[in-house]
């Protein structure tokens, strides 16, 4: 009787256990990306629409190259390795978990495939004043704010305004863009130095009008 129970319960458990222990990851691509995204989901949300309460930006539908750039920046310490960048400090260890070949590409491909999310404005800058400052930004990010992959300039129209403000502050303080080797970050740091906090909010308000 006991032996029969062992067979009835134990063997299926053994099979399930063996399947669970199978360490072979899905091949590079969307399936693996979806699996990896489960780690991102607690902060960025199931639809990657972000969560401002914990400074996790909306990332759905951002270009794959941009997400890859940022993940590699976190891994290399260009981002999230400064005592003043609190959300970045939270993101960096998560990026470091993408340690198999193809992980970064897969999760970036998955996030890029999600429906883009255009978060509502939360700041109260003066878009009219910001339009003048944006002339400098337009050289890389484009007059329409859609970015330029050749210059590693992301589509800022799609990013949360609070996130843009945090990043401009980070660039200005040196929490971002100050590391040797961070070629594209250095460009942004130089351009952020002249901006006051109000000027940052004004230019971001203008960017919001480009949607």
């Amino acid at each position: 009787m006991m032996l029969r129970n062992v067979r009835r319960i134990g063997l299926p458990l053994l099979v399930i256990g063996a399947a669970a222990c199978d360490a072979t990851p899905p091949p590079v691509g969307m399936a693996r990306g979806a699996e990896l995204y489960e780690t991102c989901q607690p902060c960025h949300g199931a639809e990657a629409a972000g969560n401002p309460d914990i400074a996790a930006p909306a990332i759905a539908g951002l270009p794959q190259w941009y997400i890859q750039d940022q993940l590699r920046g976190f891994q290399a310490g260009y981002r999230g390795d400064h005592a003043g960048d609190l959300p970045g400090l939270r993101m960096r260890p998560m990026a470091l978990t993408l340690n198999r070949e193809g992980d970064v590409e897969s999760v970036a491909e998955y996030v890029a495939s999600l429906d883009p999310h255009f978060p509502a404005s939360t700041l109260h800058g003066n878009a009219g004043v910001g339009a003048a400052s944006y002339a400098v930004c337009a050289a890389c990010h484009g007059a329409d704010g859609l970015g330029n992959p050749d210059l590693h300039a992301p589509p800022i129209v799609q990013l949360d305004d609070w996130y843009l403000l945090n990043q401009l502050r980070n660039f200005k303080s040196g929490a971002r863009g100050a590391r040797p080797g961070d070629t594209w970050g250095v460009t942004m740091r130089v351009n952020s130095l002249a901006l006051t906090d109000q000027a940052m909010q004004d230019v971001i308000a203008y960017v919001q009008t480009l949607r």
């Binding site: 390795d81 005592a83 003043g84 609190l86 400090l89 939270r90 260890p93 998560m94 040196g174």
Partner: protein, 225 residues
């Protein structure tokens, strides 16, 4: 015994290992004895043809002394453990030796930030050096640390120091350590603090006086937040 598996790199590491050894030896002795008795009794009073089992109430003296005598002896062992524990607790947690230097340790999901005092050896001054994940200290110097958390419960753990201290949001907890050997060792978070808890690691660099002075000189002011 434990130092065979993990070096002792602080003045109180051997005290804590000694306490763990004491508990392991005393608890291990009673565990082995109890298990040996248990299996011996099972074997001695195993089922035999024609012999009926007997119900024991446990009230007979010759039976109950199998409980009371070991119980009393275990309590005696407990006294030794309590004396050892209080002695170690007092030396590690109640005594605060005079500091050669003070650092601030800040835990957050999921990174450690360290505030070093800089060349003036004063914390909270303009030359403070901020680092993420890397703590630099000098060997044979007594350090006070001020442990803080920015978000949730963390626990600053340096296994080679045998040091573990909870970090609580809203509180600055003072502790101390004195490194006894140079080298680079791991720091970890020992309190579940969210999805990234398992990868919330850091390194402590224990340096000789010259190396530490050189590091202070070279540390970039760009790390200041």
């Amino acid at each position: 015994m434990l130092e065979r598996f993990l070096v002792q790199a602080s003045t109180y590491a051997s005290d804590i290992d000694g306490l763990i050894n004491l508990v392991a030896v005393l608890a291990g002795f009673w565990f082995l004895l109890a298990e040996a008795m248990f299996f011996w009794l099972i074997w001695k009073f195993r089922a035999r043809p024609g012999k009926k089992s007997q119900y024991l109430t446990g009230k007979e003296k010759h039976v109950s002394r199998w409980i009371t005598i070991p119980h009393a002896l275990v309590l005696v062992c407990d006294v030794f453990i309590i004396i050892g524990s209080v002695r170690v607790w007092y030396n590690v947690k109640q005594v605060l030796p005079e500091a050669d230097s003070t650092i601030r340790i800040i835990g957050q999901q999921w990174a450690w930030t360290f505030q070093h005092p800089g060349a003036d050896n004063e914390l909270d001054t303009a030359d403070d050096i901020f680092t993420v994940e890397d703590l630099h200290v000098e060997v044979e110097k007594t350090y006070h640390f001020k442990l803080e958390s920015r978000d949730v419960l963390h626990d600053f753990s340096v296994p080679v120091f045998r040091l573990k201290q909870d970090a609580l949001p809203g509180r600055s907890i003072t502790g101390w350590f004195r490194p006894t050997m140079t080298g680079e060792f791991g720091i970890q978070c020992a309190e579940i603090c969210g999805i990234g808890h398992g990868i919330m690691a850091g390194r402590i660099h224990i340096e000789d006086a010259n190396t530490h002075a050189a590091w202070i000189s070279s540390a970039s002011v760009a790390t200041t937040p």
